[in-house]
Symmetry: C2
Subunit: 628 residues, 2 copies
């Protein structure tokens, strides 16, 4: 303990003053919950192995603020422990030029993860705790949660994983103030918190969340109780410390008026110097703040690339093989993890599990939890792949993946079943939106390889390059793509580069732009047409959201253009190509876009292609028609 | 009971034969789980108020199959109760031309909801049960679930709502076979089912799921036990009925080989006539099946439109006012519901709650559950609005909204906080992807009104027109849009039409295309330029995903084009306009796209606009620059 209980008590008044001042200066924010959580923040920051001088030192305890709107409390406590200057917080809170955003934000010293969308924090903590376990680090993870967010289903999921993985180093401190926006939490939606944590096999300790002795004693027990995860249910009072704010839900998300502030600060025995901060705020520049995202760096070995030749292979198997090889090549340097949601045979993690069993993490059918755990794990020095079907890895946890994107994590999401190439499972399992979804994420790359060899290289590229990368594949076994001369297009010397384009066939007058496994349809159709003396361009773009315009333009100019994709045609590459054409003012000779414009029925990939006119012969005829 | 226990026992063998045959004929599907659930299906269909002659009669009991992959069992049981021909099922299962898709699909007689993405079924059932309650109908809802899907957090959410709403008419029948893809469920991820249902206050009955007497007795109790929702935990055996399949997870998703099938049918004492079905399947046509989506029709009164004039109003308040008026005008005819996730003051449901308290449904912070409940409720004769922030109503439950889209429900989603206009909450709360997300949904409309009056009309349009409609609004108070003469652009006679475009300003050489509240920036900038003698077009498109190309083209031709949106610029209207230009081969004089290309920081809408150059003066200058 850095400070005595006596000193914490004094700090707790000062912090309450900070909270009220910063919310009043910014005229927004959440004072009530910050005041119910503040004694918990002070207690934990006081004990944790964290260092204001090296906030992101390699081995450290980590805190996650799942109810991220209590940022005023967090900022105040961290500032008072020396992480940054409290005056900058009070004047800058929620101003664009300040790093002190409305919800706690990764990269601020002491803040490990951006939150704000409730229910994700416990999964984040599970990821951090798993990382420590995989790295054999003796560090703890403290997750702050609240009764208000407790209904979120993802929390129930995370509890189970914490128990299953026996995360002794994980402690939840739950601010139970029984108040949320609409009134008493028990009236809005009753959650029997103790029964729920108990049903998941957690240790439960209850304390008065404003009694530092009790809080410290509970933390002491939880930190040393090595019998699985512990929740400390801290009974608190919203608005605690200012008589007229206590137990009033009206102060959940509303700052005090000037008169109320004067009265409150007097009660706390704190000088009202708010004018000083208002003046400072007015002088703040009109610009955005900049932050760094402190991912632990990994120096990843490329491994021994696998080049596929004549035997048909599904891209997902090429992924599984590459991942197993990467695990073998790197696991002595840092942990390599693969996250699975009960789909091991389908997502081809069998070989990985064999060569690296400790890195195989079975989350069960809990995709929200899995996506978030994957994100925080990936940021913590563990090379992390999350393997799943498109609908379960992207659609279901879209907002979790979006928060990973906001957090600039280092996650590799391997989608083994994308587009309509999912077998006969039908429309609920056909994920034909992946371009539309990843296009929403400013910091995530999307790669869609066309054959097993390209898949192999893409997986290695993803492993070596920092940042969130999504790789989408299909279920069916396919040939490799060959040159006109019948040689492997992606041969043993091939190396993938993000943004590159592949000239599968060279021709004139017409260019097909495609990606993923549908490239085969285009190449085969081009070869049929060649026999009839018609030569066309077939261009593969494995990174359909970010490609090199300069390199593509020559294939567009004065040509007829066809886009072809196993994707919702309104949300796919046709959008990107249209933008390229318009922005660069390219003259083209007409464009046709092929993809799906409705949910396809159950059926084998082969039958679905036939029904929609994507078998090679039919498609070749469409090209001829378009050529006129 | 239509059939005696003796008859059910005989049927249960026949159905097992059907299950094995259809999966073998289609060479895919899930026999194991179908055989563990089949006795439950037969027992419920035998008791329920359902009628094969009028499968969608107005008042009926409803069943939801949450583990939709057990479709072989469901189809077989329904066929044997006369809902359709079993031979068509066996030969057509999972063939594109057949209605019998891989996962149970809404519109098939007897099937109330398409599932396949696990964890949503209980919420669907809650929606159905709530609808019955709101309509004072004496009907029951049976939800079939499984231990395999039980980890999904959404189920924990739905359990709480069922309890809170005291849904006596809701019964869960849980197939507990302890097997899933990766092995024993308890090893994949342990869920203490009894403790979890108990913690949510449910009644629990345990039975042997292959003992018809026990199952029927339990159903008898559950149907009459009016003390809140009941779960019947049915202990079953995967592959039950065929000795070599029992308790083997390998048969979860794999059909039998021909030799195995022969052996299995012999054991069941059923003739092996599979060749007949294979021959029939080969003759199936190469086309898609068609289905109807039996939403209960509503004849919605328009109410008394509210026209806003000089007082600034936020669009979300205009929504709240319109919804309250619609509730008043219609609530005697059918129930009108508004679904809230603890955001009543922000999403402006206060007035609605006052005039129609029984229709106000507080789900708490459980957005996945809320979105699904809203979907099934909306399909059941209840005019349903789901009001939430963009990040909580679209991003978080994206896959739930997608399943609503697949189900062709009749839900109106009112997004009160979209784009960057969310106040100072920061990036986690800025939903700037809504076009990208809704573009992924084939059957959902998106409308983004520009001022309070247009909002009023759009809400009434949404209420009157069947189908899923998303309306996105902003938080800030805004003026109404005025004509050049200073009159209301949307006046008392205005009526909204989907796909229409609004000519806010008429000019030449340059056209700004915009929507939502950013239309004000464009209009104001145009008015500044007009004073300098420059007249430009400002076109509002309130349905940015579906507009009338013909009407827009004259504004594009030979003009410079600017798109302006409070949205991710890569995922918004620039995509649509680019496609329109390319598809129609329109000659334009250059295009610039304005929107956001990164997560914006915390800050008031005003400051964010300034930082990104979207204050009126700066934007007017950008236009001038572009005009050259």
């Amino acid at each position: 303990m850095k400070q005595s209980i006596k000193e914490l008590k004094d700090l707790s008044k000062i912090c309450r003053g900070d909270i009220l001042k910063m919310t009043s200066v910014s005229k927004s924010g959440h004072p009530g919950g910050s005041m119910s959580s503040i004694d918990l923040y002070l207690s934990v920051f006081n004990r944790a192995n964290i260092d204001p001088k090296q906030p992101f030192k390699k081995v450290r305890d980590k805190t996650v603020i799942s109810h991220g709107h209590t940022s005023p409390g967090v900022y105040s406590a961290l500032a008072r422990f020396g992480f940054f200057n409290i005056e900058e917080v009070i004047s800058g809170f929620r101003h664009p030029s300040s790093i002190f955003e409305g919800h706690v934000t990764r990269g601020i010293p002491g803040i490990e993860w951006t939150t704000g969308n409730l229910g994700q924090g416990l999964s984040v903590g599970v990821g951090f705790a798993l990382a420590a376990k995989l790295k054999n680090e003796d560090s703890k993870v403290y997750v702050f949660s609240s009764d208000g967010e407790s209904p979120k289903g993802q929390i129930a999921e995370a509890r189970r994983t914490a128990k299953k993985e026996n995360l002794n180093n994980l402690i939840v401190i739950l601010d139970y103030n029984d108040i949320q926006i609409s009134g008493r939490a028990r009236d809005v939606l009753y959650v029997d918190l103790k029964a729920e944590y108990k049903s998941a096999g957690w240790n439960i300790i209850e304390v008065n969340g404003h009694d530092f002795e009790q809080i410290n004693e509970a933390l002491e027990i939880a930190e040393n109780y090595k019998l699985g995860p512990t929740v400390i249910i801290a009974h608190t009072i919203i608005g605690k410390g200012v008589s007229f704010m206590e137990n009033r839900h009206e102060y959940h998300g509303s700052p005090l008026s000037d008169e109320e502030l004067e009265k409150a600060l007097k009660e706390l025995n704190i000088e009202n110097d708010i004018q000083k901060f208002r003046t400072a705020r007015e002088k703040l520049p009109l610009k955005k703040s900049e932050k760094n995202y402190p991912n632990e760096k990994l120096n990843v070995e490329y491994g021994t690339p696998i080049t596929y030749e004549n035997k048909k292979t599904d891209n997902r198997s090429a992924f599984g093989n590459a991942l197993a090889d990467i695990a073998k090549s790197n696991k002595e340097k840092f942990p390599v993890a693969a996250i699975d949601c009960d789909l091991l045979p389908s997502v081809k993690l069998g070989e990985f599990k064999k060569v690296n069993p400790e890195g195989y993490i079975q989350i069960g059918i809990q995709e929200h939890n899995a996506a978030t755990i994957s994100g925080s794990l990936s940021a913590s020095g563990v090379l992390t792949f999350f393997a799943d079907f498109g609908v379960f890895g992207l659609d279901e946890p879209f907002n979790q993946q979006r928060l990973n994107d906001i957090n600039h994590s280092n996650l590799k999401t391997a989608i083994t079943h994308s587009g309509t190439d999912v077998g006969e499972d039908g429309k609920t399992h056909q994920e034909v939106n992946y371009m539309g979804l990843i296009r929403s994420m400013y910091n995530t790359k999307l790669i869609v390889p066309s054959d097993p060899t390209q898949t192999d290289r893409v997986v290695r590229y993803a492993a070596q390059n920092e940042g969130n990368i999504v790789i989408t594949m299909g279920r069916s076994k396919i040939d490799i793509i060959k040159t006109e001369e019948g040689k492997p297009f992606f041969d043993k010397n091939y190396k993938y580069e993000y943004g590159s384009i592949d000239e599968f066939r060279k021709g004139e007058k017409l260019t097909i732009i495609t990606y993923g496994t549908f490239a085969h349809i285009a190449v085969d159709a081009a070869d049929i047409l060649k026999k009839e003396g018609i030569k066309i361009n077939v261009i593969g773009i494995a990174s359909p959201l970010h490609y090199n315009d300069e390199k593509l333009i020559p294939y567009l100019m004065n040509n007829k253009i066809i886009t072809l994709e196993d994707h919702n045609v309104e949300n796919g590459i046709a959008n990107e190509i249209s933008k390229t054409i318009v922005k660069n003012n390219i003259n083209i000779n007409g464009m046709e876009n092929f993809g799906f414009n409705e949910y396809a029925p159950s059926g084998s990939s082969e039958l679905i292609r036939k029904i929609y006119g994507f078998d090679t012969e039919a498609f070749a005829n469409k090209i001829k028609e378009f050529l006129g």
